[in-house]
C-alpha cells in the first residue's frame, strides 16, 4: 500500500506535532488532572497510528524499525521498575515507596518546577508516568505498525 492521497498525508503531517504535544501534556500532568501515562501514551500512539494510515505501513516500516520500538518499550518498563526498586533503598524503605515527596534525599529535586503552576508536587509519580508513557507509546505504535504491516502483506498475497 502506498498510503492515501497527498492531502491526507500533508494534513496528518501537520497535525502530528500537535497530537504529540497534547499527549505529552496529558502524561506530564497525570498526577494533577485526569490522565496519566497510559492515556497520554495512547494519544501519542494514536497520532502515530494516523501516520501509519496516511502513509501506509510499508513506508512507515522503512522509517521506523519494530526492533527499536521494542527496545524503547523495555526501557520504559525498566524505568518504571527501577524507580520502584529505588524505593527499597530510600525513603520509607519499601518497594514502590514514593521517596521523592516531602523529602531530603534529593534536595535539588524540590526546586524543579517551582513557580506559578507548581507542577512538581507528587514526587516519583510524574517520573513513573513518563516511564509508562514511553512504554505505551512504543508498545501501541509497535502493535499498530506490525499488524498493519502483516495484513498488508496478506492482501498482496491474495491479490497475486
Amino acid at each position: 500500500m502506498s498510503g492515501m492521497s497527498k492531502i491526507v498525508k500533508t494534513i496528518s503531517a501537520i497535525i502530528l506535532p500537535f497530537i504529540t504535544i497534547y499527549g505529552l501534556y496529558i502524561i506530564a500532568h497525570g498526577h494533577l488532572t485526569p490522565g496519566g501515562g497510559f492515556q497520554g501514551g495512547a494519544i501519542v500512539a494514536s497520532g502515530f497510528a494516523m501516520i501509519v494510515v496516511a502513509f501506509g505501513s510499508i513506508w512507515t516500516m522503512e522509517k521506523i524499525k519494530e526492533k527499536h520500538l521494542s527496545i524503547l518499550e523495555s526501557l520504559g518498563a525498566i524505568g518504571f521498575i527501577g524507580l520502584a526498586f529505588l524505593g527499597i533503598i530510600f525513603g520509607a524503605k519499601m518497594f514502590f515507596a514514593n521517596f521523592l515527596v516531602k523529602q531530603d534525599v534529593l534536595p535539588f529535586f524540590n526546586q524543579i518546577g517551582q513557580g506559578l503552576s507548581n507542577i512538581n508536587t507528587a514526587g516519583l509519580l510524574p517520573l513513573m508516568n513518563f516511564a509508562v508513557g514511553l512504554k505505551v507509546i512504543a508498545g501501541l505504535f509497535a502493535i499498530v505498525l506490525v499488524m498493519a504491516y502483516a495484513t498488508s502483506k496478506i492482501k498482496e498475497g491474495t491479490e497475486k
Binding site: 497510559f38 502493535i143 499488524m147 502483516a150 496478506i154
Partner: protein, 115 residues
C-alpha cells in the same frame, strides 16, 4: 428506577457479548463479543463509583463537597489497559490463523493433528 438502568445495561452487554462468543462463527465477531463483555464489566465498575452530584477528587478546598471515589475508576483504567493488550493479541492470532487456514470460521480451526 433511573439508577438501575446502568446495571440493566451491564447485564445486557454481558449477555450480548456471550451470545456473540457462543453463537457467532466468525473469529472477528467472537473477539468483538469479548470486547463487548469487557465494556459491560467496565461499565459496571464505573457505575459502582458514581454518586449523584459528586465531583472529581482532585481539587483542593473541596473537602466538604461530595467527592466520587477514585478507586473504581483506577480499576476500570487498569482493566481497559489489559483489554487493549488482550485485543491486540487476539487480533494478531487471527492474522496468523488466516494465513494458515485461509478461513475465519471457528468450526474450521478445530485443529486436530495435522500429520
Amino acid at each position: 428506577m433511573i439508577y438501575q438502568i446502568p446495571f440493566i445495561a451491564v447485564a445486557l452487554l454481558v449477555l450480548i457479548g456471550l451470545y456473540a462468543v457462543v453463537f457467532k462463527r466468525n473469529l472477528i465477531k467472537i473477539v468483538i463479543g469479548i470486547t463487548i463483555i469487557e465494556s459491560g464489566v467496565n461499565l459496571f465498575l464505573i457505575t459502582l463509583g458514581y454518586r449523584e452530584g459528586s465531583i472529581a477528587p482532585i481539587y483542593h478546598g473541596t473537602e466538604e463537597a461530595i467527592r466520587s471515589l477514585p478507586v473504581p475508576q483506577a480499576l476500570t483504567l487498569t482493566s481497559i489497559v489489559i483489554g487493549v493488550a488482550v485485543l491486540a493479541l487476539m487480533l494478531s492470532f487471527i492474522v496468523y490463523i488466516y494465513r494458515h487456514y485461509n478461513t475465519l470460521d471457528v468450526r474450521k480451526i478445530v485443529g486436530g493433528d495435522e500429520e
